[in-house]
């Protein structure tokens, strides 16, 4: 006989333990929804298939920075030193490629809540409609901003390191340190808000994605055709190009005025018109979102 004689097994019913620890306020609830949405968009705690797209896209948008830095390294101490095939301002424009990312991410963050009727559980929590809107728009904006900024950081740090004097490069390009975040922020808020508002109107991700691309591309093509007929290829109609609208503001941030070569270049007060239209679009989008989630369980 072993020493286990007399020992008996025990089944423990751990029962229920009340929670008496700290509780976060409404801000904490919004933050939790924000973080959960970011995790979902990046595929964290989801299957590998959901992880592939965001990280591959981040890699793709970083390629121009890596190539530019590589060229800078190869051409150092040569007559071609200082060659750069992409500027910081142009690189912010790469963010418009992130529209494709938004077309996939915003519906993925918003549509399943309605499709799987998770909204009824979310709004049974201590939050209201505009908390939900803030968390969702904030999450998509943060991701788009991050995906816009990271390649720029790679570009800036890389250029600085391959330059003759890192400190000199930093001093000569110091204004970029505020211009890039401001311009990228303007684009991120714009695309994210439009993406979330389109996604909020349907429970089907594919419909939302296609609708968002159509909303961006159709006006772009139409305004492009209208402007092409104009003698100086410049017209106020360009502000209706929803895809390019924030790029005019980017130009204002970097240049102090709209790009003279852009379709708004020959339009007087083109920058103001772009800013007005940008604000109008955002206000309309937020109004739709607040209305959409005013009675969330409906």
């Amino acid at each position: 006989m072993s020493g286990a004689v007399g020992a008996v097994g025990a089944v423990y019913d751990r029962g229920y333990r009340p929670y008496d620890g700290p509780r976060r306020g409404r801000g904490g609830t919004v933050a939790a929804l924000f973080v959960a949405s970011i995790r979902r968009a990046l595929g964290i705690r989801r299957s590998w298939r959901q992880k592939v797209f965001p990280w591959v896209l981040l890699a793709i948008v970083t390629v121009p920075a890596v190539v530019n830095v590589g060229i800078g390294y190869v051409t150092r101490d040569t007559p071609a030193e200082g060659f750069s095939f992409i500027t910081y301002r142009e690189y912010v424009g790469v963010s418009s490629a992130l529209l494709l990312f938004v077309a996939l991410t915003a519906p993925d963050v918003v549509c399943p809540d309605r499709r799987h009727r998770v909204l009824s559980l979310i709004f049974a929590r201590p939050l209201v409609g505009h908390d939900y809107v803030l968390a969702k728009v904030g999450a998509v904006t943060t991701i788009v901003f991050g995906f816009s900024i990271l390649p720029q950081v790679v570009l800036f740090v890389g250029q600085m390191l391959v330059s003759d004097g890192a400190l000199d490069y930093l001093r000569d390009n110091a204004e970029v340190l505020w211009q890039v975040p401001v311009a990228a922020g303007l684009l991120a808020v714009y695309y994210a808000t439009i993406g979330v508002v389109v996604a909020s109107l349907t429970s089907r991700r594919i419909v939302a994605g296609v609708a968002l691309l159509a909303l961006a591309l159709v006006p772009s093509v139409v305004t492009g055709a209208v402007i092409a007929n104009d003698a100086d290829e410049s017209s106020p109609v360009a502000v209706l190009d929803l895809l390019s609208l924030p790029l005019h503001l980017r130009d204002v941030v970097f240049l102090g005025h709209v790009d003279p070569d852009s379709p708004l270049g020959g339009v007087s007060a083109g920058g103001l018109m772009a800013a007005g239209m940008y604000t109008l679009v955002l206000v309309a989008a937020v109004a739709i979102l607040l209305l959409r989630y005013r009675e969330p369980d409906a």
Binding site: Y16, S47, A124, R125, P126
Partner: protein
């Protein structure tokens, strides 16, 4: 035991009209005590609308409602901090694990992230999903999904949980297990309002019943009392049931002479003890022999049918 002595909820003239003229609730006035309460009524009686009003997701057209002593109209957020809610419909994202979903809802209820994960683990263990909690919910059975829904309602340790048809779609064993879980909640100090049209569920786990029909209150009271009030008294008075019946009808009691010659007296909403007193006095007054006497309790189905048909 309930944690505090305010009622679970108090509705005062609660009315909800939806656009198109549908009246979901029509002047509902009721005070529902702590403990396990069954909210019963046919489909479309207004149970789900009442839950949405309790959660502050929609506002009443008229009247007011307090939950856990707090006015929903003035502090819906505060009310929701005290509530857990398990909807009737499917509401779980299929591409996530139960542990992630329940922890996320814990955070959304105000728990810090680490506490939310710990609580999620605990409540999933409690509802019997300890092994399955890290599996994607896409492969969950109906029973597992119902348990996950219950877990998310409990994760933030609510004062009161609103359960909307928690046994819907479950097989008999799953139903028994779910009811056992619901019954245990009372021992944890969590009050329960269980909305269902399955009266057997309420009869087995609830100590108070609120019946609504067409958005109106039919009756409200302790389950045992309600069953007694729809009960019957059956007695054999040696073939003189007709005489007894006349006398009892005169005293306001419905009495029927059965084929075997015995008399059956229906409580008709009166306390069964009062009915027995009247029967005893009547038998004595008439000098009838009393060969046998027995009482029978009704089921909630019978109570509901008698009340609904009497309206």
């Amino acid at each position: 035991m309930a944690r505090v002595d305010t009622p679970s909820f108090v509705a005062d003239g609660l009315t909800k009209l939806f656009p198109g003229g549908t009246t979901a609730l029509d002047g509902l006035t009721v005070a529902v005590p702590r403990g396990s309460v069954g909210l019963v009524g046919a489909n479309g009686a207004g149970k789900t609308t009442l839950f949405r009003l309790l959660l502050g997701l929609i506002g009443p057209t008229n009247g007011s409602v307090e939950v856990c002593g707090m006015a929903v109209a003035t502090d819906p957020i505060g009310v929701r901090r005290r509530l857990g809610f398990m909807p009737e419909h499917d509401c779980l994202p299929p591409d996530q694990t139960a542990a992630d979903v329940v922890a996320t809802f814990g955070e959304l209820s105000g728990l810090p992230p680490r506490a939310a994960r710990q609580r999620a683990s605990d409540v999933l263990d409690l509802v019997g999903l300890d092994e399955a909690r890290f599996r994607s919910m896409a492969g969950f059975s109906t029973g597992m999904r119902q348990r996950t829904k219950l877990a998310q309602a409990l994760v933030a340790d609510p004062e009161l949980v609103l359960l909307d048809e928690p046994t819907a779609g479950l097989d008999p064993i799953g139903r028994e297990e779910m009811l056992a879980l619901v019954e245990r909640l009372g021992t944890f100090g969590i009050s329960v309002v269980l909305a269902t049209h399955l009266l057997d569920d309420v009869q087995s786990v609830c100590d108070h019943v609120v019946m609504i029909d067409g958005g109106r209150l039919v009756l409200s009271g302790p389950t045992e009392k309600l069953l007694e009030r729809a009960g019957t008294v059956r007695l054999d008075v040696g073939g003189r049931s007709e005489d007894l019946g006349r006398a009892l009808r005169h005293r306001g009691l419905t009495t029927e002479v059965l084929e075997d010659g015995t008399a059956e007296v229906t409580a008709d909403g009166q306390d069964i003890d009062d009915v027995l007193d009247i029967v005893r006095d009547t038998v004595a007054d008439l000098g009838l022999p009393l060969h046998s006497l027995s009482t029978g309790y009704a089921s909630l189905d019978e109570v509901f049918l008698s009340q609904a048909s009497g309206r």
